[in-house]
Amino acid sequence: MSDRKPYEQSYYPPVPTRFTRHMRTNLIWQLWEFLILNIKVLRMVRKH
């Protein structure tokens, strides 16, 4: 994560917690997310 200093550009946006970052590469959670993602994309495709 960046070195955030008051009143600088990077001071304001939200940054993920360690847990959030861990979940981004957690295999079990990401397999679930993969399933959800595919369903979302397929729903989108079906709208055409």
Binding site: Q9, S10, P13, R24, E33, F34, K40, M44, K47
Partner: protein, 484 residues
């Protein structure tokens, strides 16, 4: 027998050719004219640009595929369209100039009954002095550019390993660029590759773009549900950049790309400079420069094309302020209003206006994104236009299939680092592409279809799509199962 001629064999032209060939009986002819001998899965050029893939992994030769399918293939560039024929014959035709090395420069005419313009863009590097691979910056717009960029990046990494500090600049090289998503994806991949190479602490990465706010992506940004809030993609994008220690300059028009420094002006009328050792800056786009001639030999280019060189279709091109823009301004059949046998898909069609709010500074410099219409929307338009033409060849008087970007959803998956177990991808879904504030007050889009996520799953999906689209483009068995 009728003949369909398709100009261009990118995502739009090639998709149209495959579907048209599938729909039309053998009595009809499908002809593809494209200056390139290879098909390129352009979204994966990002991975070529960071050295994770080689050009051979994102391209293949078109000729064998077209030979297998019974599609006539001319490796040539289209020069002019003659929609009324000439004084000797009323049959419309196009003039082409071969780029095929065996007959390079030879000109020929090819008649058509139906024409699809899917020529994609001209990359206008000349719009900004010093921009582009022949100037002082790099690009990932073609696999050749991306490969060159990867070579320069490898050199930079070597020098950083020896202790040198380097400045990287990624974004858009002009105030009217589009495809911010591609540059955004490159910035994230670049950061990931520098981490992987162990030299991230030696690199300063700066994003520069013509977006009013980060996360605009040329579609005015989007709202997503996140953490119990409805949040704008600006927050999402700023968070991604902050997490990776990327700095950003937005609302910027790059005026000049010097050897190691760019100069820019902003919407706020400020002028600035930014130093770089490595700059990957996208160019603005225009049409490829086709001309149109009527039967008497008079130039009717302005009748067929908008001033930016893109082809006019069934859109409402009435000039109007942002407040009066309507989703119904956008085309749905992609048929030219003057010549019912001519269609344009993908980047080649002239949009009625931008999607992001148009902006300019006090000097009058336009600094706002032009509308993206690549990838998934292009493929969808191409399929539906091919179906319409197939029906028209079989007797229908009008296009039978419609799909406006105002009723179309898209999924954009931006890789944020390639790795089977440690990679991540940013997945954004959006419906509709053109915001509709009457149907969806406050956000312009349906929040149940519009989302943004980051994680390994996005990378897996991006990787799978890479292989699936190459499989489909090669027209291997059951290719039609793979959606656009």
């Amino acid at each position: 027998m009728a003949r369909l001629v398709i100009l261009g064999a990118g995502i739009g032209g090639h998709t149209a050719a495959l579907h048209a060939r599938h729909k039309l009986g053998k009595q009809h002819e499908v002809v593809v004219i494209t200056p390139n001998s290879k098909w390129n899965w352009i979204p994966s050029n990002i991975w070529v640009g960071v050295g994770w893939m080689k050009p051979e992994q994102v391209t293949f030769e078109l000729a064998p595929v077209y030979a297998k399918l019974g599609i006539s293939f001319h490796q040539a560039k289209a020069v002019s369209i003659h929609p009324e024929g000439n004084d000797k014959s009323a049959t419309p035709y196009v003039t082409i100039e071969y780029t095929d090395p065996s007959k390079s420069g030879t000109k020929e005419t090819i008649t058509y009954d139906f024409l699809i313009n899917a020529t994609g863009p001209r990359l206008k590097f000349d719009a900004t002095p010093g921009l582009g691979p022949t100037g002082n910056s790099l690009s990932v717009c073609t696999y050749g550019h991306a490969s060159e960029t990867a070579g320069v990046l490898a050199e930079m990494i070597e020098r950083m390993r020896k202790g040198e500090r380097k400045k990287f600049l990624v974004g858009t090289g002009h105030g009217t660029c589009t495809c911010q998503g591609a540059a955004f994806e490159y910035a994230l991949n670049l950061e990931f590759e520098l981490q992987k190479a162990g030299v991230r602490d030696k690199a300063d990465i700066t994003w520069i773009s013509n977006e009013e706010e980060l996360g605009d992506f040329g579609v005015g940004g989007m709202h997503i549900k996140r953490g119990g809030y409805v949040t704008h993609s600006r927050i999402f994008a700023e968070s991604l950049f902050t997490e990776r220690d990327l700095h950003w300059i937005t609302r910027a028009h790059v005026q000049n790309v010097g050897e190691n420094q760019i100069s820019y002006e902003t919407l706020d009328n400020e002028e600035g400079t930014a130093d770089f050792d490595f700059a990957m800056l996208l160019p603005p786009f225009s049409g490829v420069g086709l001309t149109a001639i009527d039967r008497d030999g008079a130039d009717i280019t302005s009748k067929l094309f908008a001033p930016n060189g893109f082809m006019k279709v069934d859109a409402d091109y009435t000039a109007k302020p942002y407040e009066q823009w309507k989703p119904t301004d956008w085309p749905s059949t992609y048929q030219n209003p003057d010549y019912s046998n001519i269609f344009a898909v993908g980047i080649a069609f002239a949009p009625p206006h931008a999607i992001s709010r148009p902006m300019q500074n006090e000097r009058g410099t336009k600094i706002s994104p032009t509308p993206p219409r690549t990838g998934m929307p292009t493929g969808v338009m191409a399929r539906l236009v091919a179906y319409s033409i197939a029906d028209m060849m079989n007797g229908s008087e009008h296009p039978t299939h419609e799909s406006s970007m105002a009723n179309m959803g898209v999924a954009c998956i931006a890789s944020a680092g390639a790795g089977l177990f440690n990679g991540t991808g940013v997945t954004m879904t959006m419906y509709p592409v053109i915001p509709d504030f009457q149907r969806f007050p406050n956000t312009g889009r349906d929040l149940s279809y519009t989302s943004g996520k980051i994680g390994l799953a996005g990378h897996w999906l991006k990787h799978i799509l890479h292989h699936a689209f190459l499989y489909k483009a090669k027209a291997k068995p059951f290719w039609r199962i793979v959606p656009e």
